[in-house]
Structure formats: C-alpha cells, structure tokens
C-alpha cells in the first residue's frame, strides 16, 4: 500500500485550493457528490511509508466541521504513522522486551490506523474536494530503538490528541461528528494513561494533564498545531478550523 499513483484528474483535484469555503447550507449537497473519487488515492501510510507524493508545502485544514475533521485526520495520521514505525522497527522486540507492552503497542497502532482511515472515509464522504493529503511525518528526533524515546513521544502524541479533541468539541456543529469525537477521545485518553503508566506508574492522570477541578487538558487548534508541527514536514494551517 505504500506506492501511490496519482491520476491526472486527481492531481487536478489536489491542485485546487484546499481551503474552499462552502456555505453551511450546501454542505450536505457536497456530501457524497464526489465520494470515492479520492477514496483510495491517499495512502494509509502503512509501516514506514514516507512516499506520499504531495510535495511539502502548506496544508490548509479548511473551515467549519470539515476543518475540524481534517484537523483530527492530520493528528491521527501523525499518530498512526508513528506507531506503525514503532511496531515495524527491526528492534521492536528487544526495545520492548515485555510481551504485554508489545501487544498493547501493536493494538494502539491499529486503533490509530483505524481512526486515521475513518476520518479519511468520513471526509471523503462529506466533502471529498477538501480532504487534506497524506502528510509526511518527521520523526527524525525519535530513536525508535530506545524505549524511553518511543514512550516519551507516544505520551506527547496521546496527551496532545486528548487535549485537541477536548478543545475541538466546542468547534463542532454537527452532533454526529461530536459523537464521533467523543467515541475516539476516550480511547486516546485510555492510550495516554497506559503510556504514561509505562513511563512512570501512577502518572496516568497526574497534575501535568488534570487540573485542580479534575478536568483533563484542553488545547486550542493553534496550541495543538504548534506542538505537532515539528513532527510534520508540511506546514499546517488551521486558522479557520471550526469557523
């Protein structure tokens, strides 16, 4: 699945500005109109796939609910690519010598791949002309043969994902999308707690993420993208997400 061949018409599709304003009323007219046109175009970023042919540049997440979906899709792409690389690393079984940890990391890799592909399908159905391309991750700072490096990066991504969904909920207009975000964020929080406990048992919900009201962290789009940007080669513009 790592080789992508873009057809001419699909390239034309991507040549269009990603940020194409759509009136909310006409949103559902778009849904499905071109569904499938790009469904199989973008790679699932299997394994250490870094061959997405979209040139590095600026990727605009777009506006409204589609912007929120693209925002989630971007983060899930990042997580999925990361864990795919973790579990396919040649020293995975020695870096993680505990079988229970390997089983869990392989499961998380699949959860994130499922989340990523869910958003790809959802955006393709809802507004296929506005889906962002497959992003090129930059994991050059991660040592995939070092347990602490892997887990620290995983913690960053999981906590960031939870805070992103928590902050994005209020940006979502459609109740079905809100429901989807709710279904995913708690799984990310479960991941986050598990990874944190691997790094230091008992830190699953410590005061670096849960405040004195018992509330887990929420972050704005801008805050999240600032934290995520070093791991993505393209420049991500989320200025209009949810607007």
């Amino acid at each position: 699945m790592s080789n992508i061949t873009q057809k001419g018409s699909d390239e034309a599709e991507f040549a269009k500005p990603l940020y194409t304003p759509i009136k909310r009323r006409s949103f559902f007219m778009y849904a499905g109109a071109t569904a499938g046109a790009t469904a199989l175009l973008l790679s699932g970023c299997d394994d250490d796939d870094d061959s997405v042919t979209t040139p590095s540049g600026t990727v605009n997440l777009g506006m409204g609910d589609v912007g929120v979906l693209n925002y989630a899709y971007a983060l899930e792409q990042l997580e999925a690519a990361f864990y795919a690389q973790v579990v396919s690393n040649s020293s995975f079984s020695t870096t993680f010598s505990n079988a229970d940890e390997r089983t869990a990391l392989m499961a998380i890799a699949k959860h994130e791949a499922i989340h990523r592909d869910f958003f790809k399908a959802a955006i393709t159905q809802a507004a296929s002309s506005q889906i962002i391309p497959g992003l090129n991750p930059d994991f050059s700072k991660v040592n995939f043969s070092d347990r602490n490096s892997v887990l620290t990066t995983a913690k960053t991504f999981e906590d960031l994902g939870v805070a992103a969904y928590n902050g994005a909920g209020a940006l979502i207009q459609n109740v079905t999308y809100l429901g989807i975000a709710g279904k995913i964020v708690s799984v990310e929080a479960r991941h986050a707690a598990y990874i944190r406990d691997l790094l230091s048992n008992g830190t699953f919900a410590d005061n670096t993420t849960v405040d004195t009201n018992g509330l887990d962290k929420a972050m704005t789009v801008a805050q999240v993208l600032t934290a995520a940007q070093p791991f993505i080669k393209e420049t991500i513009n989320g200025d209009n997400v949810g607007k």
């Binding site: 396919s88 209020a170 989807i180 919900a205 962290k217």
Partner: protein, 298 residues
Amino acid sequence: MEFLTLLARLADLSSETAPGPSGAPRREALARLGQAGAALLPAVLTALPSATTAAPQDNSTPLDVLRLALTLEYLESDFYARALALPNATAFFGSADNLVAIQTISAHEAQHVALLQRLLTDAGATVPAKPNFDFTGSKNGTQAALYPDVFTNLDTFLKVAQLLEDAGVRAYKGQAEFVLADNNLLEALLRTHSTEARHASHIRTMRRQRGAVVKSWVSPADAPITTAGTVPNQAYAGESVVAQYVPGPRLVPFETTLPINVGTPQLSREAILAKVMEAFDEPIDAPTATQLAQLFIH
C-alpha cells in the same frame, strides 16, 4: 435566566485552565443559551439522524445533564472514599502504588462533585443531596449482594471500580450532545470525560497486572466482569460495535475498503473488526446510566 451565572462561572473556569473554545464571546454564548432556554430542545434535536430521534429520553436539558453527572460523581467519589477510609486501607490496597493511584482517582472524583455542585448552585438550581450508597449492591441488606466482598477483596473492588469508570465514560459521552449549544459546558464535560477514561485505563491496567484478562481499553477480548442480560451488563452492552456513521447517517465501511492493516503479522478480518470495536468507545443514554447507578443506591 438562571444559566447566566452558570455560564459566567464556566467562562471563568475555562479561562483559568485553557483558552476558551474558539474564543467565543460570552455574549454570543449567552444569546445562544437564551434561545435554547425556551424549550431546551435546541438545534441538537433537529440535527439528529431520524433513526435516533425515536428514543424518548433524547430531550435532556443542561440541568438534567448536570444532575445525572453529579449522581455518577457522588457514586464514584463515595466508592473510593470509603475504600480509602478502611481501617486496613494500606493492607487492603497491597502496595503503595495501588494506594496512591486510588488516592489520585478519589481526589478527581471529589473535585468533580465539587465542580458540579458549584455549577448547579451558581445556576440557581437546587443541589441534589448525596444518595445513600451500598456498594455491595444489596440495597442495604434487603436483597442478595452483587459484590459482597467489595471492600474486603481487592479484585472485587477493582472490578466494581472498572464498572463505575467505564460506565461513567459512556454516560458522559451520551450526554455531550445535550450541551452542544453551550460551548463552555460542553468543554467542561468533555474534559471530565477524558479524566474518567484515564481512570478506567489505569484500573484496567491494575487488574491486568493482577492476572485478569483485560485490556486498558474496552475490548471484546476482555474476560467479562458482568453477566449478559443483567443490569450491570448495561455497562458493556453495545460496546462491540463495528458500524460507525457519518452524517446522513452514512455507514463508514471498515472491512472492505480501508487499508487499516498495519504491522506484521497481518490480521484476519475478524481480528480487524475486533480492533475496530476497541478503537471506538460507545455512549450510553441517561436512563441506562441511571439504572446502573441505582444498583448501588438505596
């Protein structure tokens, strides 16, 4: 407008910890709440897919949401507080790690109770009193106990903890749509929701370390802790879902079109669908959450 103070409180709360969602001006939020306040059947309902509008309970108001949340938090808070107050608590929890983890969770549940009480008070609503709880499930000795050794056997205690945390996560998830029109309240509930999910994950990890067959997330591979057809099983009924929808509602096809197979060895179709079930936590509705809470209320 009793919600004015509620909103003001939430706005303050939000700005203490994180920038408000989208920086929506409070005036705008108030206007929206005012519109919703008339019938409190906001745009949420009209936006629902027709398939789900049949459910009669889908007309919760933000106040209903807060009251339900408080009941669940009273339940969880009291549960952990009682265990920590056991004369032999240190021995009961077996290790300092276990004890500290339960203290962490207990503190959050108490904070959630305080927060919800404050929100209700500030909204001018009456704060419901804490119910009487019996965590053995015997309704104060009037019926056979479901968990007779809940405070004498750590494995039973952790089972009940898992049940309460997993159910709490599902209950908050089910209520999110009823506060969709109130960004600040929505964010507060979402942030409580993910805290509960972190708790659930840790309790599950504790159980796995003690030999239970259970993932840190809800999985069809978990050894069941409830019996099908019973009320406690409501905490898990409907979790093994492979059908996810986008608006329409339109089904997202996982098994046929999506390249979700990563790593080696590649998974079978059944194994992929099992991972899809794990990858999405499902909501429960208010009556189901109430029914679960009633197991321990007398």
